[in-house]
Amino acid sequence: MTAQVITISSGKGGVGKTTTVANIAVALASDGAKVVCIDGDIGLRNLDVVMGLENRIVYDIVDVIEGRCKLRQAMIRDKHLSELYLIPAAQTRDKNSVSPSDMNRLCDELRPDVDFILIDSPAGIERGFRNAIAPADRVLVVTNPEVSAVRDADRVVGILEAEEKRQTALIINRLNPALVKQHDMLSAEDVLDLLGIRLIGIVPEDEGVIVGSNRGVPVAQDGKSRAGQAFRNIAKRIRGEDVAFMDLDKQSGLWNRIQKMAGRK
């Protein structure tokens, strides 16, 4: 095995990077891949709570880098999926405790034993972001169909171009098809036209995502969730499968709106 290292980035905070990492990881591991997630947000860790593993942390990434534990000891196994692991960020340190070459070394050590390494990049374009993209074979840029998120995504894409990271693809998260239909939200086509990069997934806005993070169970484990389906499709595309994009209009049809008005949904 030689793992593919995939970094999830965005520029702007709060667009759903951590949720995206957790869900793609769950989807890949459900399909039988061996996956390690690394929380790159030193000082503001969150991937542990989104994955529901916060009570199992003993060692973190800075412990590994500074030699206080072995890499294996910092890898927390998921509760549901035996081939899914998390290396948590340190909560009481700052981003300068880790360097891009530390990240490269860590990933090189993991590469022979796993299929995918997913790195959750912190918001911003400073040190933490540089650490997160250093070992990446592929970078997925997450954005929302909203002016500030698209602008920041464009900055990130520009930096990745300058760094000659060739494999960059876009995830449009929290798209609301009803708002797009009434021309009060940028459509996926608009965002693609503005950013000019390849699309790898569109995730519809879905209350299930919040419910999932409340429980620490990513929505990709819920077979009925639309967002979960979108994340599972992204995982398939990462593995090279040709999966058609979902018809997001289904949920915003007339019947649905009538049901909503009648208070049935």
Binding site: E146, V147, V150, R151, D154, R155, V157, G158, E161, V180, Q182, H183, D184, M185, L186, S187, D190, D193, L194, L195, G196, I197
Partner: protein, 85 residues
């Protein structure tokens, strides 16, 4: 697309138009003011060699995918018009 009731442009269209401008300036690191001064200097230089229709000169930043280009439209003043004048 216009809103039937208010007659205003839909917000998604404003968002896209505003972003198109902002992204071009972000990517090129050139402000609208710098673009104007570039235009003035270009007019000066070109006017030294050939007579141009200064009021009709247009300099724009355009994008095609992720590449930017500076597009200049500089109409020349025709010789016949000059003779007539």
């Amino acid at each position: 697309m216009m809103n039937w009731f208010s007659g205003r442009k839909r917000s998604a269209d404003s968002a896209k138009e505003r972003l198109q401008l902002v992204l071009i300036h972000d990517r090129t690191d050139m402000s609208p003011a710098e673009l104007t001064s570039l235009k003035d200097e270009l007019i000066q230089v070109i006017s030294r060699h050939v007579e141009i229709d200064v009021d009709a000169v247009q300099i724009d930043l355009e994008h095609d995918g992720r590449s930017q280009r500076l597009v200049a439209d500089i109409p020349l003043r025709s010789m016949t018009r000059r003779r007539a004048g």
